[in-house]
């Protein structure tokens, strides 16, 4: 009488129930897709923002490592004077390398990249000064020695302005950090929304199948047996939602891809947006599945107990 190989049987039954639940969703495709879409949107928002801020942080660390000084010379400084200054600075141990950009070079570069070519033609003379860009030696990477170097550069009469664009990188990082933290708050709230959505969907499903639940209880179904298909439904809703979320994020980033490449090109950077990695995709799937499962679990716990055959 006892079924043979109980463990293997248990596994086979789970697979059957999982496939049955999937089949049930497939038989009402529109309703299932709508639920999956709602879950997907709720998951897509935090994951999209997470990716975006991740990209921004990556961008700012790139800048961090290659912090360089820009030294703008007075308009009155001649080419000889600029070259003399360049040669003197080359001797400094604090400086790794430096490059002199003439007004002509700067103008042609600007013309090429900015798209203001014709407007520039209207100018009588070149308004741009000589600029020396300085890459500090590795020992000078910290903020203190950078400030010392800046002060030293400012003492030259030829120098109109010397600046290091590290300050705004720091501020930018702080802002990204705040945004990133607030994403977790948002993810928690939207995760709660996913719980409620799956919970409510499962609750409706339980109501629709009330007769079936009563009858199966009458003929000896355990609570576990009755619970199982609903839990799998929640699981599949979560998985489908995560897939929808992944697609939405990929689509959105696809839209951003070429404008970002163009912008990065303007800054002579090879930067490009990174979309979901394999690990991140798996994490998204796992998050969707566990939220769906948990939502179903809560709904089942609340509503199944109330159904007893009479």
């Amino acid at each position: 009488m006892k079924p043979a190989q109980p463990l293997r049987n248990y596994f086979v039954r789970h697979v059957q129930v999982a496939l049955n639940s999937l089949g049930r969703l497939y038989r009402s495709p529109l309703a299932s897709l709508m639920t999956a879409a709602v879950i997907g949107i709720a998951l897509a928002l935090p994951s999209g923002l997470y990716l975006l801020t991740g990209n921004l942080q990556r961008l700012s660390t790139q800048w961090d490592g290659s912090a360089s000084f820009s030294v703008f010379l007075h308009k009155t400084v001649s080419l000889q004077q600029a070259r003399a200054l360049q040669n003197r600075l080359q001797q400094w141990p604090e400086i790794d390398s430096l490059q002199l950009i003439t007004p002509d070079q700067a103008l042609s570069e600007f013309r090429e990249l900015s798209g203001f070519g014709e407007a520039l033609d209207a100018l009588d003379d070149n308004p741009l000064p000589f600029v020396i860009t300085i890459k500090p030696a590795r020992t000078q990477a910290d903020a203190e020695s950078a400030a010392l170097l800046l002060d030293k550069l400012r003492t030259f009469p030829e120098v109109e302005l010397a600046q290091l664009d590290l300050q705004w990188v720091k501020r930018f990082n702080a802002i990204v950090d705040i945004v990133r933290r607030s994403i977790w708050v948002m993810a928690a709230l939207l995760g709660l929304a996913v719980l409620l959505i799956t919970g409510n969907t499962i609750r409706l499903e339980i109501q629709n199948r009330r007769d079936e639940i009563e009858i199966t209880k009458l003929i000896g179904a355990t609570n576990g047996f009755i619970r199982r298909p609903f839990l799998y439904s929640g699981f599949w809703y979560g998985i489908m939602g995560a897939v929808v979320a992944g697609l939405l994020v990929e689509l959105a980033f696809l839209q951003l891809h070429s404008p970002v490449r163009q912008l990065a090109g303007l800054y002579q950077s090879g930067f490009s947006l990174q979309t979901l990695s394999l690990t991140e995709s798996l994490a998204l799937l796992a998050a969707g599945a566990s939220l769906g499962l948990l939502g179903a679990w809560l709904a089942v716990g609340r509503h199944l107990a109330g159904i007893e055959p009479a």
Partner: protein, 224 residues
């Protein structure tokens, strides 16, 4: 198989549904439970199937004291009982085959065994050719026979039927009763609640007669 020992059932609303019921239905016996509507027939069956709990007294099923059964054991007790209902209680979104297979699926039988046993049960009730039909396509008598096939498919030692012929005409009713006799002959204990006295009186089985929750008489026919 079933033993009631001074069993009382009072519903929370205060109604005394059963009072001081005592009887013993031996293994392999067949008996009718009769009485007017509201006499407590359904309540008595519900106590056996643990759909309700007795408020006083003790009742035993297959030697197990049902007054002390913990909740999580209830499903396993119910698997020993084949239950048949007046309104059949079939699942209308599933085929006849799937309806009959349900108790086996619940008990975790293997796929191959399920097919074999379901067909055997359908054969016994004469519906082997309708396994792919949906219940809605069947007549009332056929639906009840599907219900009976579902009740016997996992070979329970006890069949409980609550007004199984209540919605059927006399000819179909006697067919159904013959089916129960057939199962009784192969050793299944059968307890049928019915107020169809014309039909019952033609059959040689014990009658447990209820009146307003009390057992007035137990009329024995042919009983050992």
């Amino acid at each position: 198989m079933i033993r009631f020992d001074n069993v009382c059932k009072r519903y929370p609303e205060g109604k005394e549904a059963l009072q001081g019921i005592s009887f013993h239905l031996h293994s392999g016996a067949m008996a009718f439970l009769t009485g007017h509507s509201g006499a407590g027939k359904s309540t008595l069956l519900k106590l056996v199937a643990l759909l309700e709990r007795s408020t006083r007294g003790q009742l035993f099923l297959d030697g197990e004291n049902l007054s002390r059964t913990p909740k999580r054991r209830i499903p396993y007790i119910r698997r020993k009982i084949g239950m048949i209902f007046q309104n059949y209680r079939l699942l209308f979104d599933r085929t006849v085959f799937d309806n009959v297979a349900l108790p086996l699926v619940i008990a975790g039988y293997r796929h191959q065994d399920i097919g074999r046993r379901v067909r055997a049960a359908l054969d016994k009730v004469g519906l082997l050719d309708r396994e792919r039909a949906f219940p809605i396509m069947l007549s009332g008598g056929e639906q009840q026979r599907v219900g009976i096939a579902r009740a016997v498919v996992n070979k329970p030692p006890l069949l409980l039927a609550d007004e199984p012929t209540g919605n059927l005409d006399p000819e179909l009713s006697s067919d159904i009763m013959q089916l129960f006799e057939h199962f009784n002959q192969v050793g299944v204990t059968v307890l049928i609640a019915s107020h169809d006295l014309d039909l019952i009186s033609t059959m040689p089985y014990t009658q447990i007669i209820l009146q307003q929750g009390r057992m007035v008489r137990s009329r024995a026919h042919n009983s050992p």
